[in-house]
């Protein structure tokens, strides 16, 4: 059961990482237009990098 000493911190760390990523997306306003974002992948207007809202 010694492996738990490694695995539990790892799961907690990964969980926090995910939560941090979620906060980041939330703050960047990535949930403002879910439907449009789903369709925009079909456009090839700005393929090399994501278009920023403030550009």
């Amino acid at each position: 059961m010694d492996v738990l000493a490694i695995l539990i911190p790892v799961t907690l760390f990964l969980g926090l990482l995910g939560l941090g990523a979620f906060f980041w997306t939330l703050r960047k306003g990535q949930y403002e237009d879910p439907e449009g974002d789903a369709r925009r992948i079909l456009n090839d207007d700005y393929d090399d990098r994501p278009k920023r809202d403030d550009e």
Partner: protein, 726 residues
């Protein structure tokens, strides 16, 4: 004057009708424009709109939001929303101007983000706790189990303290108000589950309910978030389609024009009304000849000729020539304000609607604590005073009965249904509108602007030679009169080019004249042109000796025939009540197959008819667009107005049709019925889970594993059932 009718954030129609003086001070920032695009639906539309607008001079950038069906445009100050709307129209997209100032309040939706953040925290905590719980369920024992419980607790307690706050706050305010809302049993369940779990963990007990407490928080937050989304959408809808004009008037003083707020006008002031402008006050014309469009106030299709001495009411649109008006009533005394009083009276007469969720909560809220309290005492008696066992059973009961699925039952269905209706072009402004719409058995339509487009269309163009048509086109181009514009539009659509006309001039109140091949030509009223007046709506053209008459009909709104037929097929009684003259209303009723109609109805008459229908036990859906409909719209059980309606009418109604097509109404009624059925099914489903698991809990057989299974299964089935609506 529409500008004074802007719906306030509260969405209260009575306040909306009243001229809002404070808004006069609002300055237009100009740079950022928002437009509603009811017809966009695909990736192709997004790039067409964004590319098309980027090519428009003065536009710096354009960004489409497909979820909200809006485009936000960053442009130079001289570019107006009307320019953008015209550009979009050329691209083939219907566009309406939105008020960016009002919308910015909903755009930065702090509360929604806050809920989403709590939801995220609860979700990630739940995942980690579940990993540990699976270990416990599959047989972790002794020190390992205690360690797992402790780690779960270390994650769960801060999570609950943070993510559960919306429920704790709700419960606290309910308790202070002496009520027992849904939040009280929910908070009780979460807090007690966490407390007993802490106790069990430190006494190395077998069962800890940290996972259940966090799961409960998570699923209830999902429901709360969906509910908030629906409400936020409703709020923004109330503000959405405000006109961009500012409530100002041109006051004449010592021969010079000055722009003042409408609230600053006094009786006796002289006001200049330019062609195309709205009359800001009630008054008498002192100078100028023109025609005014009263359709939004009275439902009359035809413009009315005005000359010095004519009475004007606030809200009418001046069409052809400039007018000088002496103010007879401003502010509180104006006809607009009297309308506001009527709306307020109708609003207060409408009883507060009790939703299905309210009724369910009322039945449920006291049951849960009582049941678990009962379980506690019975087990105390059976076990001979084993406090720990009894508390465990009581808390298991509390967790199992906690209305996880119940919290999702309504919001999940409402979200699915309003999403479906939004895609069809119908915006729901009021959260309870869907339930009320499901009960409707009588539908009352207004005529002008609702069943018709409110714009005339020439119907006898084929009867005239091409020369006459080309001259008519050239002359019609010189006027902003609705008949002239309709004529010009229809002729252009036939591919005709205007004839060369010299010296075209508009004679306000009469028509347009000019010289064509050396002879005088006139387009306008029968008497002025020298033609004999026909019975129908018309414009007349004189070409030297010959005269031609153009007759017009009001174009039906797309989908009008279908919607009436569909509603009749659904077994609804359909009424047509209009302020227009009897022959026009009768013809429309006959054309659409509407058996019940009433013509020449004043605003009070419309409301009285609806009140009479409702007194007979009918549930009335009112569909209308004019100021004369606002009272009826607020008096009806549920109401819908088209996007082209006056702000006051939109503010008074529960739903707004975004596109030109009126067809979605029949579908909305059907969708509303289906959603209410789904909500009922959801209640039964969550009740069924309780019927199965509550006895288990009462018998003391319910472990945290069973609680987790019951909660997630019921939440998922309820959500799936709601998704069937799509």
């Amino acid at each position: 004057m529409t500008e004074a009718l802007r719906p306030p954030p509260s969405g209260c129609p009575a306040c909306a009708v009243a001229p809002a003086a404070e808004q006069a001070a609002r300055v237009d920032t100009g740079a950022r424009l928002l437009l509603s695009l009811p017809t966009i639906h695909c990736a192709g539309c997004i790039s067409a709109v964004e590319r098309g607008l980027a090519a428009h001079p003065g536009v710096r950038s354009a960004r489409v939001n497909l979820t909200l069906k809006r485009v936000s445009v960053d442009a130079d100050p001289q570019v107006t929303a009307a320019d953008i709307a015209a550009a979009l129209d050329r691209l083939g997209f219907e566009a309406h101007e939105l008020d960016a100032g009002l919308l910015s309040q909903t755009e930065t939706d702090r509360q929604g983000r806050d809920l989403l953040m709590r939801l995220g925290v609860a979700g990630f905590a739940l995942m980690n706790i579940m990993l540990l719980s699976v270990g416990v369920w599959s047989g972790a024992d002794g020190a390992t189990r205690d360690l797992f419980h402790m780690i779960s607790g270390a994650i769960a307690l801060p999570t609950i303290a943070f993510a559960g706050q919306p429920f704790f706050r709700g419960a606290w305010s309910a308790l202070r108000g002496g009520r027992l809302g849904m939040d009280v049993p929910i908070s009780l369940g979460i807090v007690l589950a966490a407390a007993i779990s802490v106790y069990e963990t430190f006494n190395s007990g077998a069962h800890a309910y940290f996972d259940a407490a966090v799961m409960l928080t998570f699923f209830l937050l999902v429901g709360r978030y969906l509910d908030h989304r629906a409400r936020a959408l409703a709020r923004s809808a109330a503000q959405e389609l405000a006109a961009l004009e500012v409530p100002r008037a041109l006051r004449l003083r010592d021969g010079t024009e000055e722009t003042v707020a409408i609230s600053a006008l006094a009786v006796g002031d002289l006001v200049r009304v330019r062609p195309g402008g709205r009359v800001p006050v009630d008054g008498v014309v002192t100078e100028g000849r023109s025609e005014v469009d009263r359709s939004l106030l009275t439902g009359e299709t035809l413009p009315v000729v005005t000359a010095p001495g004519a009475q004007l009411s606030a809200g009418e649109v001046n069409l052809t020539g400039p007018l000088t008006v002496r103010v007879t009533a401003a502010g509180r005394d104006s006809s607009l304000h009297r309308m506001a009083d009527l709306v307020a009276a109708a609003e207060s007469a409408r009883t507060r609607y009790t939703t299905l969720a309210d009724r369910a909560a009322r039945a449920y809220a006291p049951t849960i604590p009582l049941l678990s309290l009962g379980a506690f005492f019975v087990w105390m008696w059976i076990s001979g005073g084993d406090l720990r066992l009894s508390i465990n059973v009581a808390i298991a009961t509390l967790i199992i009965t906690c209305p996880c699925a119940l919290g999702l039952a309504v919001p999940a269905v409402v979200t699915a249904a309003s999403g479906r209706l939004f895609r069809k072009g119908l915006l729901i402004k009021d959260g309870t509108a869907l339930e009320r719409l499901a009960e409707v058995d009588t539908v009352v339509f207004d005529k002008t602007g609702t069943l018709t487009m409110g714009t005339p269309v020439p119907d006898n163009l084929d009867a005239h030679p091409e020369d006459a048509l080309r001259v008519a086109l050239a002359l019609a181009d010189g006027s902003s009169h609705p008949l002239a514009r309709a004529l010009a539009g229809a002729l252009r659509a036939r591919g005709l080019t205007p004839a060369a006309i010299e010296d075209p001039r508009e004679a306000p109140g009469y028509g347009v004249q000019g010289l064509w091949q050396g002879q005088e030509v006139r387009l306008g009223r029968a008497g002025w042109v020298g033609a004999t007046h026909a019975a129908t709506t018309g414009a007349y053209l004189s070409l030297g000796e010959a005269t031609h008459s153009f007759t017009f009909t009001d174009a039906l709104r797309p989908g009008a025939e279908d919607v009436v037929a569909a509603l009749k097929a659904q077994g609804k009684a359909v009424w047509l009540i209009s302020g227009d003259v009897a022959p026009a209303v009768a013809a429309m009723a006959a054309r659409l197959g509407i058996a019940h109609w009433q013509a020449g109805a004043l605003p009070q008459d419309k409301a009285a008819r609806i009140a009479a229908l409702q007194a007979d036990g009918h549930k009335v859906l009112m569909v209308g667009d004019g100021l004369n409909d606002t009272v009826a719209l607020s008096a009806a059980h549920v109401s819908i107005s088209p996007a082209s309606a006056l702000d006051a009418a939109r503010a008074a109604s529960d739903m707004v049709l975004l596109g030109r097509d009126i067809g979605p109404i029949a579908d909305a009624v059907r969708t509303a019925r289906v959603s209410v059925r789904r909500i009922r099914e959801n209640f039964w489903q969550s009740g069924l889970y309780n019927a199965v698991f509550v006895p288990l809990a009462l018998l003391g057989l319910c472990t945290p594993l069973w609680a987790a299974v019951a909660m997630s299964l019921s939440s998922i089935t309820v959500s799936l059932n709601a998704l069937r609506l799509k």
